[in-house]
């Protein structure tokens, strides 16, 4: 019964994030030994120096459509808090530069590559060596029961950065990663299911996009 989940194990190939890779892969699957069928990242205590957060939403769209949107990383600033811009340098390897808004007008750049990809099922990415933040993420797509669409799980692991810039970024970018992942997934769901992202703004200059624009 663990067949599908355990197929996601074993992505840890080098580049300084081995520990995180092993951790992330093991957290994505269910506990071994039949004690508990919940995903590992929902455990009350997660050991290790990496912080990990995971969230799932159900989206009433086919897996392939959701996968295709996410696989084009340049789409992600539309749904992700504080993500300013993603430049895709090599579509094949998924080599991309993520520009993340930091305090005092700074921008933090994280370069990532795709670590593993299974069409319509899984995209895992990892920061390359020398990034200001060591991070690793994966998004998984599986069929929901009946005609409910697709269950999308986002798991992000990161190493709290050192140094002044790191601390400032940590405050903004990863202060509440679970909350942020939840919001990001909700926006993804809104965009996919309704074609727009809900806002209670009454004026164009009050929207989230406009506020982000203003701060930059």
């Amino acid at each position: 019964m663990n067949q599908h989940r355990s197929s996601t194990v074993g992505i840890a190939v080098g580049l300084g994030l081995t520990a995180g890779g092993v951790l992330l892969a093991s957290l994505a699957r269910r506990h071994k030994g039949g004690r508990d069928s919940a995903p590992g990242y929902t455990a009350r205590r997660i050991p290790g120096k990496f912080d990990v957060t995971g969230k799932t939403v159900t989206i009433r769209k086919p897996r392939a459509e959701l996968f295709a949107y996410w696989r084009d990383f340049a789409n992600l600033p539309a749904i992700m808090e504080n993500l300013e811009h993603v430049e895709v340098m090599d579509n094949q390897t998924g080599h991309s530069a993520w520009s993340i808004k930091a305090p005092a007008g700074n921008t933090v750049r994280i370069e990532t590559k795709i670590a593993r990809e299974v069409a319509d099922e899984l995209i895992a990415w990892r920061s390359v060596e020398g990034s200001e933040i060591a991070t690793e993420g994966r998004v998984m797509f599986s069929d929901a029961p009946g005609d409910r669409g697709t269950q999308v799980t986002l798991i992000i692991a990161y190493q709290p950065p050192a140094g002044a810039v790191g601390k400032a970024v940590a405050k903004l970018f990863i202060r509440e990663p679970a909350v942020q992942a939840r919001h990001d997934l909700k926006r993804f769901k809104m965009l996919m299911e309704t074609g727009e992202i809900a806002t209670s703004a009454n004026r164009k200059d009050e929207t989230r996009a406009a506020q982000q624009e203003k701060k930059s």
Partner: protein, 394 residues
């Protein structure tokens, strides 16, 4: 434009604010022609709903004319529409099963956390009802932005005047769903607590659904008289022991179904209110649920409990024993308005439903604050207030 804005407990004002704009492709902007003050607006007025911010525009019962439409709206400029108070996307799981008031996509992502921690799941978006439900501006204004305008608004034929159809926005579907949730059978005796607008429409709906007997409970003489005119028997709870009377009036069996159309604002219904009032002042605390407690004791074994009345927090000394031992069935929730607008519009059009009897006052928008004050303080005679932004101030 002018709009009725909230500034604190019992402090609402008509102010000049910016006109709304089209933001998303499915939006429309309406020029509001009629908008009502709702009993649940009094919860905001009384300051018992968390998540309000100074300057919030109130109003979730409104209709008007489309004056601007987004590129994916199905409305056309000039169309007259009534807008459901529940904002629903039409595409999520809950919308697909017609549980529109549980829409997963209408409350902005960053506003979902508070209600999610209160209730385990985030609320959907509602017009003019605090940042708990999205912080959307309401329709007690000259103009309003309506998201998902291809799903919610229902187009009204020209020959039906505003007063006949405005209540499709909330209280008519809410009264109807309350009766539907009581799963009324032809032999049923149904007790309805509260003869406010929702209670009266629940009475009207229960009778339309064929209930053998409907018993209305309140203490305002005029409201009880309205209930009587609809065909209900009435109980004045100030003069009569309600539970004993209900047992007698149902032949000693107990009523088959109970409808709590009062919610957390119950006043004077029982002595334990005072305890709950004190707790409520401390924050999101105990709801004053004396009506619900009374209803759970009055309903027969295997009976049906319908709760359209609004509750927001938690309740002390809830009679869980009565709920379980009597095998009760409870149904509740914010109204799935979009499910009911078309069939109820048809009933209005063919003359089988007329709700205009409820309207006691029509005021220009400028006099909205006076409307709130009187609706709150003169509940017996001010049964329903409609604000008309186009009406000249006196």
């Amino acid at each position: 434009m002018k709009a009725l804005t909230w500034h604190g407990t019992k402090d609402v004002r008509v102010e000049t604010v910016d006109d709304p704009e089209i933001i998303n492709p499915r939006d429309a902007i309406l020029k509001v022609t009629s908008t009502a003050i709702c009993g649940s607006d009094l919860h905001l007025y009384d300051g018992v709903i968390p998540g309000m911010q100074a300057g919030d525009i109130l109003g979730h019962e409104f209709m008007g004319e489309a004056v601007e439409v987004g590129k994916d709206s199905t409305l056309e400029k000039g169309q007259r529409v009534v807008v459901p108070f529940t904002i629903s996307c039409g595409g999520c799981f809950h919308c697909q099963v017609q549980q529109y008031s549980a829409c997963e996509n209408s409350n902005p992502a960053e506003k979902q956390d508070m209600s999610a921690s209160l209730y385990g799941h985030p609320m959907s978006g509602l017009f003019g009802y605090s940042h708990l439900t999205g912080g959307y501006s309401g329709g007690q204004a000259e103009y309003v932005r309506v998201p998902f305008s291809d799903v919610g608004p229902i187009v009204i034929p020209d020959h039906l005047e505003d007063d006949k159809v405005l209540f499709l926005s909330d209280i008519l579907p809410t009264g109807w769903m309350a009766a539907e949730n009581a799963e009324i059978q032809p032999d049923d005796t149904v007790a309805v607590w509260g003869c406010g607008p929702v209670g009266l429409f629940a009475i009207q709906s229960a009778i339309a659904m064929g209930a053998a007997k409907v018993i209305a409970i309140d203490h305002y003489p005029h409201r009880l008289e309205l209930a009587r005119q609809l065909g209900a028997e009435v109980i004045d709870f100030r003069k009569t022991d309600v539970r004993e009377a209900l047992m007698e009036m149902s032949g000693g069996i107990g009523v088959d179904a109970v409808i709590d159309a009062v919610g957390m604002e119950a006043h004077g219904f029982a002595i334990d209110n005072m305890v709950d009032v004190v707790k409520q002042k401390v924050g999101v605390g105990a709801d004053r649920a004396s009506v619900l407690k009374q209803a759970l004791l009055a309903v027969r074994f295997g009976g049906k409990v319908s709760i359209p009345g609004v509750y927001g927090g938690m309740t002390d000394k809830f009679p869980t024993g009565a709920l379980m031992e009597k095998g009760l069935q409870v149904r509740s929730g914010q109204t799935h308005v979009q499910k009911y607008t078309k069939p109820l519009l048809d009933k209005i059009e063919d003359g089988s439903l007329d709700t205009t009897f409820l309207i006691s006052h029509r005021l220009p928008l400028d006099e909205a604050a006076k409307g709130y004050r009187n609706f709150k303080e003169k509940q017996d005679s001010w049964t329903k207030v409609i604000l008309k932004p186009g009406m000249a101030a006196k």
